[in-house]
């Protein structure tokens, strides 16, 4: 952000320099101006002698020199920073640090297809500076937003290289692509894991419909605009950022030890009328702690070098980055290499061209997706290895199905490597003509290639874990996308009237292709053997597929302001998407309008002292969601392996029509209204922003179950099925100040409240059940129904545990056993059945909040971020999902029912029975948490030393991410995620971890 300001301030300074400064009897004051936070030098700061028009500006290294009266006062002004007055007091050197004032209304905000002064923005746009993202120990830029922005909910997954789930102002889509749109330097992406966070200059989150609607087609779930760093004129500035640290599992789930396990499994056998499996449980002692066996402190390394500079006519920015991240599970790791080059050339006075090219390569050693389930379920009585070095075998302990495995074998024999390559960038040309017009054309491309190569050797590790024929599997995926954009901007001022008009056109094409292949009996003496060509020729397998979508769009926007008091914004976008070609509303129209009133600029506010600024704003807009499957209205033929028939040993291809498509599909559109207030007080030290929104998704597209007797293979049909609503409130307050002694600090808190509701659904009061993944016995944990929240938890309400056979006999559950759940007979019909289920909880978080603080004193800086979620429920599917003798958590063991009177809340060891594992209130827990998201302490080496070393800056830091997370949930982590109708169900999620790092930032 700072560098954008720089360009503006250069212009401002340029104007100032034309004023001839000529004063006598002065002394020369020299000094350096730096950022109060990270101590980076600030170039382009204007310095005025108070009471005069005389001044200068800092150079590229933040140094200045000014001739001023010995008793003068200097005023330091820089966009985005709080103005500072400093008396000269006859000093020849005056070093100054400016406190950033990111929330001030003078700030410039990146919006769709341009920038606006923050004061002119009538919608709801949140901005995060690149350095705040790069500072954190997150490999993925989006992950770093957690807790930073009101109304934005981030659910992180701890797996290395994984992308978090981001939800802006609640879940507004159920089906297809429910994610946000990322626009990186004008190119559209579905995710940004390829991006090195250090390359980010600015990140804007468009939260309301009026700011989103300029991206009509894909904006319904929010838009994140990312601008990467551009070059700046001046001598080359070389930056190095490096860190090394460890990722450590926190809140590790305690499981029953071997003795406890043997005890509870014997109880389970007794309940089932089977003989004891373990004659002497205590003989097993502690046994194997499988989590300890598989987890490790995982190394994390980061290196990033960038070079930035240029002449007046041409600037460049070049960066190289490396991230190495081990998984907390042994054998898992991830490496990412990034390179980015951008170049901007002022070819002629009115013509500027530029480009950005980036290349990312990442590769990983993967772990088997079932490992977390295995670590939970594995019997602690089984040793990792026997004394003779062979693997401990669950079969030797007669554990039976369900946990007939040794997780170490699963780790050792899983050999899968993933490689991802991504090349993308854009080229633009910008022409200014006729004084007020700017024409910009830009073409962006994105080419991605991914390969997953898995090899399973022939082995026999335990009775149940073996492989008879070696198998090589190679999967390749390609993305080939391009986007073309042309915009024409007219900008003019007529007296008190400011007018900006933008008209634009864009077209894009997105193509995906994949090919999966495999071969048996591939030898493996070296990596060079891992080719399909070396496998059996007779039964090689290959299958491919792909998708193609095209979009064509036109858009326009008008911004008008009068005397900087009255603001009006209007946009319209027309989109056509290939998905709706020939079977739907091909063109969708997405208008929006916004208005603002800068009350503080009114004459009647002139003399008041309370507000530095005060703005009231409101907006309304429509946006669309094209994230539906390709060709949704085209009936297609299914030809796959399941339709292959074998007659007399020979396989024959089968194909048929086994689906049903709608004859017509409308756009899914979201209408949002937004009212907000921005105010700053106390000399801009306190900034407050608050807003209300009401977001209504109309004709939401998703699949609903259709009659099975129609005989389709999915039993579902896509269509415009529902109206949804998200209503909420957001509040953000920031206090920043600097004491005379040089202590600067800022405290910023935000909270977002959201209520999610299904307004109507074509099935009416007939619910859509989902949430079966990870549950056993066919249980479905969620339902979506008119009047409820999307994917609310649904099931039986537990009213205690049956203690005695007599109690069972007197109840509505005649077939229950003592130790089973006692369910409430909601309809009092004397039978417990599906009709007795009720709503048990809501997986959509009601509150997201964060608190960010920064402290600076002398050369020290400290950041502490706290973040949390409240008013949310999660479903613990791990407890009840059982097929045999799976292990239990220590909590379950300690609290279980094991005889009359032992527990009235936890059931017996037979918790996995169909009856007990049916979705019920026992499994629904409060998913609220609060965590210290980030703590970072930095120290910048003194400038005297820097001068001596001819370096600009050296800063060392230590930090911790997620060192403390507090929650009541009894699983690994309440941060779970999931698709809208399957959200919040914990079925072996990736465990929670903390990262501790030591790092250095160096600028030459």
């Amino acid at each position: 952000m700072k560098r954008i300001f720089t360009r503006i301030s250069v212009l401002a300074a340029f104007c100032l320099l034309t004023i001839n400064v000529a004063l006598a009897q002065n002394i020369t004051v020299k000094g350096k101006v730096v950022d109060g936070g990270d101590k980076t030098p600030l170039p382009g700061v204007t310095i005025l002698i108070k009471g005069t028009q005389n001044g200068t500006q800092t150079d590229v290294n933040g140094n200045y020199s000014i001739s001023a009266p010995a008793n003068a006062t200097l005023v330091f002004n820089f966009v985005g920073y709080t103005a500072l007055e400093q008396a000269v007091n006859n000093q020849a050197t005056l070093n100054v640090s400016l406190a950033s004032s990111t929330q001030q209304l003078e700030q410039v905000v990146v919006v769709g297809y341009g920038t606006q002064r923050k004061i002119d923005v009538t919608g709801s746009v949140a901005t995060v500076k690149g350095e705040d993202i790069a500072k954190q120990a997150s490999t993925n830029a989006v992950s770093a937003l957690q807790g930073k922005v009101a109304g934005v909910s981030i659910t992180n997954n701890g797996a290395p290289g994984s992308s978090p789930k981001i939800t802006i102002r609640g879940t507004g889509s159920i089906y297809g692509n429910t994610g946000v749109l990322y626009v990186v330097d004008g190119v559209w992406y579905d995710e940004v894991s390829f991006l090195n966070p250090s390359d980010i200059e600015n990140l804007s989150i468009l939260k309301d419909a009026s700011s989103q609607s300029i991206y009509g087609i894909r904006a319904a779930n929010g838009v994140v605009l990312i601008t990467t760093k551009k070059g700046k004129s001046g001598d080359p500035v070389i930056n190095y950022n490096g860190s090394v640290g460890y990722r450590v599992v926190t809140n590790q789930l305690a499981m029953a030890n071997a003795t406890e396990y043997a005890t509870i499994i014997n109880e389970l056998s007794a309940i089932n009328g089977a003989p004891n499996l373990f004659a002497n449980p205590s003989s097993f002692g502690e046994g194997t702690n499988w989590y300890n066996q598989a987890f490790r402190n995982a190394l994390q390394t980061n290196h990033q070098v960038s070079i930035n500079g240029g002449s007046e006519k041409s600037t460049y920015n070049f960066s190289l980055g490396y991230t190495g991240e081990d998984g907390i599970v042994k054998t898992q790791n991830y490496k990412r290499y990034t390179a980015k080059f951008s170049n901007d050339i002022q070819v002629l006075k009115p013509l500027k061209i530029g480009y950005t090219i980036s290349a990312t390569a990442s590769n990983s050693d993967d772990v088997n997706g079932s490992i977390f389930r295995q670590l939970y379920a594995a019997g602690p009585v089984v040793p990792v290895y026997y004394a003779d070095g062979t693997y401990g075998d669950a079969n030797d302990f007669s554990l039976g199905g369900g946990n007939n495995f040794n997780p170490q074998v699963t780790l050792d024999y899983f050999n899968q490597k993933s490689k991802n390559y991504r090349y993308n960038g854009n080229f633009y040309a910008e022409l200014n003509f006729a004084k007020h017009f700017t024409f910009k054309t830009s073409i962006g491309g994105d080419f991605g290639q991914a390969e997953v190569r898995g090899y399973t050797p022939v082995y026999q590790a335990t009775q149940g874990q073996r492989n008879d024929k070696s198998l090589l599997e190679i999967k390749r995926t390609e993305d080939r996308n391009w986007i073309l954009e042309n915009t024409l901007t007219y900008k003019n001022t007529f007296g008190d009237h400011n007018l900006t008009i933008l008209a634009g056109q864009t077209a894009q094409r997105r193509k995906n292709y994949y090919i999966n292949s495999s071969a048996l009996n591939v030898p493996y003496s070296s990596e060079g053997d891992l080719y399909l060509a070396l496998g059996n020729a007779a039964d090689r397998s290959v299958i491919d597929g792909g998708s193609l979508t095209t979009y064509s769009s036109y858009f326009g926007r008008a911004n008008y302001s009068f005397k900087d008091r009255y603001l009006l914004n209007a946009t319209i976008r027309a989109d056509a998407a290939s998905q709706f070609y020939g079977g739907g509303d091909l063109w969708g129209y997405f208008p929006s309008v916004g208005a603002g009133w800068v009350i503080s600029n009114e004459d009647f506010m002139k003399d008041q002292k309370i507000f530095n600024s005060l703005k009231l704003k409101g907006s309304w807009g429509k946006v669309g969601n094209a994230g539906v499957p390709v060709n949704p209205t085209t009936l297609v033929v299914k030809q796959d392996g399941a339709y292959v028939v074998v007659f007399n040993g020979v396989a024959y291809t089968g194909a048929n029509v086994s689906s049903l498509v709608p004859s017509f599909l409308n756009w899914e559109r979201t209408t949002g209204t937004d009212i907000g207030l921005e105010a700053s007080f106390l000399n801009n030290r306190l900034n407050v922003e608050t807003g209300f929104y009401n977001k209504k998704t109309e004709q939401a597209i998703f699949e609903i179950p259709i009659l099975s007797s129609i005989g389709t293979s999915s039993g579902k049909q896509i269509g415009n099925q529902a109206d949804l609503q998200n209503r909420g409130f957001e509040f953000l307050a920031t206090w920043r100040d600097q004491t005379k002694s040089g202590f600067s600090y800022s405290i910023s808190g935000n909270v977002g409240l959201n209520n999610n509701k299904v307004l109507s659904v074509v099935t009416g009061l007939n619910p859509i059940y989902a949430g079966g993944a990870g549950l056993s016995n066919g249980g479905l944990a969620t339902r979506t129904i008119q009047g409820g929240a999307i994917g609310e938890f649904y099931g039986y309400k537990v009213d205690g545990i049956f203690q005695t056979p007599a109690e069972v006999a007197a109840s509505a559950q005649k077939t229950a056993k003592p130790g089973d759940f006692k369910y409430i007979d909601q309809n009092n019909d004397g039978v417990i059945d599906g009709k007795d289920r009720i709503v048990l909880g809501n997986p959509n978080p009601k509150y997201n909040y964060g608190l960010s603080t920064t402290f600076g004193y002398k050369n020290f800086d400290l950041t502490v971020d706290i973040q949390g979620v409240a008013g949310v429920d999660v479903y613990n599917a791990n407890i009840g999902s059982r097929f045999g003798n799976e292990n239990f958590s220590k909590d379950f063991y300690d609290n279980r029912w094991h005889g009359a009177g032992t527990s009235n809340t936890y059931p017996s060891a037979a918790v996995g029975s169909t009856f007990n594992s049916a979705p019920n209130s026992f499994y629904v827990e409060d998913g609220s948490y609060i965590r210290i998201r980030n703590i970072q302490l930095g120290y910048s080496l003194p400038s005297t030393l820097m001068n001596k070393w001819t370096m600009k800056k050296v800063r060392v830091f230590v930090d911790a991410q997620n060192p403390v997370t507090l929650f009541g949930y009894k699983g690994f982590t309440p941060e779970i995620g999931g698709t809208p109708t399957n959200a919040g169900i914990d079925a072996s999620v990736y465990p929670l971890s903390a990262v501790y790092r030591l790092g250095v930032n160096v600028t030459f």
Partner: protein
């Protein structure tokens, strides 16, 4: 607007930039947005030639392997309610299946929905063929045969539906409009009639034998034998007799070794009237998808999960020395004829041997035993239907001939066991035939509905909870009734 540049170079540059960008704007052109489905053939260009018809017919046979047709749903509805089988496996594993054994099942239990859906999926694929193949320009006799095959599979699916649920929605065409989607249950008499018509049509066209490349397709004998069974369930004894008499003349015979006849290397043998063709295709897991053998395989071994296991009542049903007992039941601790030693400890004392695939044939990573064909109708069933119909029609001599032919093969050359039935008393002979069906067809999902059609449901299954007036049929799946918004009605008692 007015462009007034002094520098013509700049002007040119600007024009070049604008024009070049405009030139590559493909917007507004219809073709840019008219995108073909990728890697998926649109249905409108399918159904054009004989190979399309062949593929569609193949898909019907493949569909018969699916989970709902061969695994839990089918075993729950067609086997576990009987006295010969029970849930098996570990006590906790899928204990919802017990509700089919003790008749506490309610309409929301998923196996009924799974079975219902699977049968209608079969029917949809058949209806697609029957609606679309007639319009294809191709060899007329091959076309007729394809249509006859579709009718056979549709009849088989409706037979399983009407037997399990009674009245069911009868769909003889692919529904096209919303009005055709939600239809009420058709009275079972009409469903039976539709089945009979399909089988008449099929039998008139289907060949009795196929060249080797088509081994396993529905034959004339299969259509007649299924028709006989359909008639038997309606006590149309004259039809049963005439159809089975015809089938007996078609060249079938009993396979000499009863146990061997169920192994994968003796599939589609001379006794086979219709089998669901299943295979393990290396490197094609999608096609190796029959879980019929897996779900019933010996638990704790490499073979499977151990569901649908034989009961002591079945053991007791065999006459002393009947080799079929050991051929039908894998006992814990035994060594199978193929040499697999079954662990003496383990969850269940007995497993189904008719679905058993020798361990040496099981390939890790593939559905265990996915190569095992499901025997739908064997010639011994035809003989026993013939015997029963002959007895009901007053021809005990023929009845005994057919019955004793089955017993003779079962004897396997061992003297002194399974003597010929000699009685001509109608009721005694009927009981003997029923008894023979029980042991000859044990663990082949015949027993449950056989006992019900014999009118002995309450007598035999009553102690397990079976109630007359309710348990003759299962419940219509509750969520199907919900989706129909009340157009579908529930069976009595559910």
């Amino acid at each position: 607007m007015k462009i007034n540049y002094k520098n013509t170079y700049i002007q040119k540059m600007g024009i070049v930039v604008i024009c070049s960008s405009l030139l590559i704007i493909p917007a507004c052109k219809k073709s840019f947005l008219d995108v073909d489905p990728q890697a998926q053939q649109p249905a409108v260009v399918f159904w054009k030639d004989a190979s399309d018809a062949a593929k569609a017919v193949n898909s019907m046979y493949a569909q018969l392997r699916t989970w709902g047709n061969t695994a839990f749903p089918a075993l729950a509805l067609e086997s576990m309610g009987s006295d010969e089988a029970e849930k098996g496996s570990a006590a906790n594993d899928s204990d919802y299946l017990n509700a089919y054994d003790n008749f506490t099942v309610t309409s929301t239990e998923g196996q009924m929905g799974g079975f219902w859906e699977a049968q209608y999926q079969n029917i949809n694929l058949c209806n697609q063929v029957l609606d679309n193949v007639p319009g294809i320009n191709m060899d007329a006799s091959l076309k007729a045969r394809y249509l006859a095959e579709a009718k056979f599979i549709r009849a088989y699916s409706y037979f399983r539906l009407v037997r399990a649920f009674g009245d069911v929605p009868l769909r003889l065409n692919v529904p096209k409009t919303p009005a055709e989607f939600n239809i009420p249950r058709t009275p079972k008499a009409q469903v039976w009639a539709a089945i009979e018509k399909d089988l008449d049509d099929a039998a008139a066209v289907l060949p009795q034998t196929y060249p080797a490349a088509d081994l396993g397709r529905a034959t004339k004998g299969a259509a007649l034998a299924l028709h006989a069974k359909v008639a038997m369930y309606q006590q149309k004894w004259d039809q049963v007799l005439s159809f089975t008499n015809t089938v007996i003349t078609l060249g079938y015979d009993l396979y000499p070794n009863y146990q061997e006849g169920f192994r994968t290397n003796h599939e589609n043998n001379i006794e086979s009237v219709f089998e669901i063709q299943c295979e393990l295709l290396l490197n094609n897991k999608d096609a190796s998808n029959s879980q019929y053998s897996q779900v019933q395989g010996v638990r704790g071994s490499v073979a499977g999960w151990g569901f649908n296991v034989p009961t002591p009542a079945l053991v007791a049903a065999y006459e002393t020395g009947d080799p079929r007992k050991d051929a039908t039941i894998i006992f814990r601790g035994e060594t199978t004829p193929q040499g697999d030693a079954i662990s003496p400890t383990g969850d269940n004392p007995m497993y189904n041997q008719k679905s058993y695939v020798p361990f040496s044939l099981i390939v890790s990573g593939y559905t265990e035993g996915s190569q095992q064909n499901v025997r739908v109708i064997r010639f011994s069933d035809v003989l026993l239907m013939n015997a029963e119909a002959a007895n009901e029609q007053g021809n005990p001599t023929l009845a005994k001939t057919s019955l004793n032919r089955v017993r003779a093969r079962a004897r396997g050359g061992i003297a002194g066991i399974l003597p010929d039935v000699t009685t001509s008393d109608k009721e005694a002979l009927r009981q003997a035939i029923w008894k023979e069906r029980q042991v000859e067809l044990a663990m082949e999902s015949d027993r449950y509905f056989d006992v019900i059609r014999q009118g002995r449901g309450a007598a035999i299954f009553g102690p397990k909870g079976w109630k007359a007036g309710k348990n003759e049929v299962w419940a219509i799946p509750a969520n199907e009734i919900d989706k129909s918004a009340g157009t579908l009605t529930q069976n009595p008692g559910y």
